[in-house]
């Protein structure tokens, strides 16, 4: 069982919709990540939060808006997405002592 919970597991949205992906953790680690993964490709880093502050934004388009309201929650707000944004979105928490990432099961997003 993963200790990182992502919701929803599946999301279908139109290009004019506004939706959010959520990630919750109770591991106490303070580095939180969003990755995007297309089919048969490796995960690509989008954002990194450290102690609830945005530390890294890998030149992600503004239609993706991350938010970290507290040390347990990480959101990814979606607006005016394109069909090519369809992918598996993975949240991960990093153990700062070991560098190991703990992943959620992901949210599979389809943009119509």
């Amino acid at each position: 069982d993963t200790e990182v919970t992502q919701t929803p597991k599946h999301l279908v949205m139109g290009m004019t919709n506004k939706k959010s992906l959520k990630c919750e953790q109770h591991m106490g680690h303070r580095a939180m990540y969003w990755y995007k993964q297309k089919a048969k490709k490796p995960p690509e880093l989008m954002f990194v939060y450290s102690y609830e502050k945005l530390s890294i934004n890998e030149s992600v388009p503004s239609r993706f808006s991350p938010e970290c309201p507290n040390s347990s929650l990480l959101n990814l707000h979606l607006h005016a997405l394109q069909p090519e944004d369809s992918a598996l979105y993975l949240c991960a928490i990093q153990d700062s002592n070991t560098g190991e990432l703990f992943f959620g099961e992901g949210s599979r997003l389809t943009v119509l």
């Binding site: 990540y33 995960p43 690509e44 993975l90 070991t98 560098g99 990432l101 992943f103 599979r108």
Partner: protein
């Protein structure tokens, strides 16, 4: 940008055989990690090897690291059908931001047939 390059891209073996996957990278690293991903699922951490280590074991897994060649290998011994998954190497390097982030390689798809 992607740093790790796995080889082979796909590997098909029979149960009981050993599976070896290789990973090459380009820049200096703090450590190198291997992850497993079942189809459509999240990634699961397998093993981490630090830049000052050359070999590490965990159960049926053996990882080697050659920093002079900037390469690593993952060996799975006595494979099982349940080992069927994609395997990714990930390099941990401290970037310009000062934060340590993982960059994943392209992955090896392993198929173990009963």
């Amino acid at each position: 940008s992607q740093q790790g390059e796995e080889d082979p891209q796909a590997l098909s073996i029979q149960e009981g055989e050993n599976a070896t996957m290789n990973c090459s990278y380009k820049t200096s690293i703090n450590n190198l990690q291997w992850y497993r991903q079942n189809s459509g699922r999240g990634l699961v951490h397998l093993i981490l090897i630090r830049s000052n280590e050359r070999e590490k074991h965990s159960g049926r897994l053996r990882v080697t690291l050659d920093t002079s060649k900037k390469s690593s290998s993952l060996l799975i011994t006595a494979s099982r059908a349940a080992d069927t998954a994609s395997y990714f190497c990930a390099t941990d390097a401290r970037g310009d931001s000062g934060y340590s982030t993982l960059t994943f390689g392209k992955g090896t798809m392993l198929l173990v047939s009963p």
